[in-house]
């Protein structure tokens, strides 16, 4: 079968990507995983200025999940250019830069300054980080702002533009339609769900920021339902993520209408998950005689 995925002007070799924030910039995993099998590597978020990230602890495990509050810790644009770009040039898979910021200008600046880098396949615009005070989630919950910002970023680069959606809204399809109207080539969903754990001995939230972003198997059905609804509301491709730990989960996302998927938290747990998911997608396609990824979409109305 043809596993390639077309997103706007770009093509990914296969639908199995690795989610932003869970895979660094690739180098962290090169000793454990054959990076050439990765369909798309979504980098740790890049903001214009370097960010140290949030106070600790930043991670807490929950039932079949984990809550993180990293706070977009990254080296900033300057650090990204000197420390990360040279590595991305050697990457054997497409690199999608996850773009974040506190305001529209920040997102625009990251894309503007990196627009001519040939080693960058495309952009994933993080309008959904729950762990920073401004930007991220705050920007991504208002359809009018999402459309306006998408349209602004669209003009800055001809590379594929993917808007990453938050599930922390009443109607995720409204945000997806806004991204489509603004000229996005695809949307990815879902980012983490806002979650919280309280330490009943210390009588305070475990995370200093009180709440964080829930990921892992616990959110799989939520992500799947969001992808199903979004895929049936817009015409541009949907990249599905949330709780994928095995091939069957990825197949479910494709059946629900996704063209590609991202593996996130499972990267921390199983270095063989990418190969297993890729193999499982191939096996399912062979079993049902599917030729392309869009053939997965014929079963669920």
């Amino acid at each position: 079968m043809d596993l390639s995925v077309r997103i706007g002007p770009g093509t990914l070799p296969n639908p199995v990507g690795v989610a932003s924030g869970t895979f660094g910039y690739g180098s962290e995993y090169e000793k454990l995983i054959d990076l050439s099998i990765i369909g798309a590597l979504y980098t740790k978020a890049v903001t214009p200025e370097a960010r140290p990230g949030n106070a600790t602890p930043r991670i807490i495990e929950t039932a079949a999940g984990m809550i993180n509050s990293i706070g977009l810790a990254n080296n900033g644009l300057a650090g990204f250019k000197t420390a990360k770009i040279p590595y991305l040039r050697t990457l054997p898979c497409p690199a999608v830069v996850n773009v974040a910021g506190a305001k529209g200008d920040d997102y625009a600046r990251v894309i503007e300054e990196l627009a001519d880098e040939d080693c960058i396949w495309g952009w994933e615009v993080n309008l959904s980080c729950p762990n920073v005070k401004t930007g991220g989630l705050a920007l991504g919950t208002n359809p009018a702002e999402v459309e306006q910002l998408t349209a602004r970023l669209r003009k800055l680069s001809s590379k594929p533009l993917i808007i990453k959606l938050t599930p922390n809204v009443t109607d995720i399809t409204a945000i997806a339609r806004a991204a489509e109207a603004g000229g996005a080539d695809a949307v990815s969903c879902i980012n983490t769900l806002v979650g919280m754990v309280i330490d009943t001995k210390a009588l305070r939230p475990v995370l200093p920021g009180k709440t964080g972003g829930l990921s892992g198997p616990a959110i799989f059905p939520v992500g799947l339902a969001a992808v199903y609804r979004v895929a049936h509301a817009i015409k541009i491709p949907v990249v599905g993520l949330g709780g994928i730990t095995e091939a069957d989960h990825a197949v479910q996302y494709l059946l629900a209408g996704a063209y590609a998927i991202q593996i996130g938290t499972a990267n921390f747990i199983d270095p063989t998950v990418h190969q297993k998911v890729l193999d499982g997608i191939r096996e399912f396609a062979a079993l049902h005689d599917l030729q392309t990824i869009s053939d997965f979409h014929q079963f669920i109305d």
Partner: protein, 258 residues
């Protein structure tokens, strides 16, 4: 660093709630050094979800095995305590940076508190084979938390408990202070244990103008440097350093002690 699917050789209690697990070490895998750690996937399913980090407590090239000491205190470690010989053991290892050798002319003083004994036992055994064997001081709350493990005769060991129920009464750092005074040596401190003990060890090192190496702990996500989860605050250019990658062993002067 490698993904190693190996098997359990032995899993035995060594103190109240403490276990030592010996695992087969494949010949192709890099040898772990004292201070380095592994992360283990305790189940195939989603609960517990994340891999759990444990410091190596020993490595034996001759019989191709490595050891960890862990405390049974939650779901994951309870599952681990039920592992039997031949059970599969799925790890990422060896991870992080180990303890450096002592500087020339300095006497290594190894200070372990509670579950921090694992890497200190490993380091003590390693140093016993060098011209600069140290003193190993193991502190515990009370007698039942002291490890029943056999050390080489060449390792000079002092046991102490908070309640005086075994060994000398007092904290491991206080005992270290007394020993250093008696020996009138220029020490180099190595510490692994609770945060408060590490901070006290750092203060002692400052008093003595001696170097101190501390093994830091933090809730960990990926353990390979990608997720930025397991950071501690440090002095210098960056505000935070990753325990899994820049650590877990740090020069105590780089840590922001709170």
């Amino acid at each position: 660093m490698a993904h190693i699917v190996t098997s359990v050789l032995e899993n035995r209690p060594v103190a109240q709630d403490y276990y030592e697990l010996r695992l087969a070490w494949p010949s192709w895998a890099p040898a772990p050094q004292p201070g380095q750690f592994l992360t283990v996937r305790t189940v195939d399913g989603p609960v517990p979800l994340l891999r759990r980090p444990f410091a190596f407590s020993g490595f034996d090239r001759a019989d191709s095995s490595a050891r960890i000491i862990y405390q049974r205190r939650g779901h994951a470690t309870t599952l681990m305590s039920a592992k039997r010989p031949f059970d599969p053991f799925d790890i990422l290892a060896p991870l992080g940076n180990g303890f450096p050798d002592p500087s020339s002319g300095r006497r290594p003083i190894l200070i372990a508190g509670g579950i921090g004994m694992g890497p200190m036992l490993f380091l003590a055994e390693r140093l016993a084979q060098t011209p600069y064997p140290g003193i190993l001081i193991i502190g515990a709350r009370s007698a039942q938390y002291l490890p029943r493990v056999v050390l080489s005769h060449s390792v000079q060991t002092i046991l102490c408990t908070d309640d005086g129920s075994a060994g000398r009464k007092g904290s491991a750092v206080d005992i270290a202070r007394e020993e250093i005074r008696q020996e009138a040596c220029a020490p180099e401190l190595y510490l692994c244990g609770p945060h408060g003990m590490l901070a006290a060890g750092h203060e002692l090192a400052e008093e003595l103008d001696a170097p101190a190496w501390v093994s830091m702990e933090q809730t960990m996500g990926c353990a390979v440097g990608a997720c930025m989860g397991c950071v501690v605050r440090v002095h210098g250019g960056e505000e935070y350093a990753r325990v899994c990658t820049e650590g877990p062993v740090f020069d105590s002067r780089t840590i922001v002690w709170t």
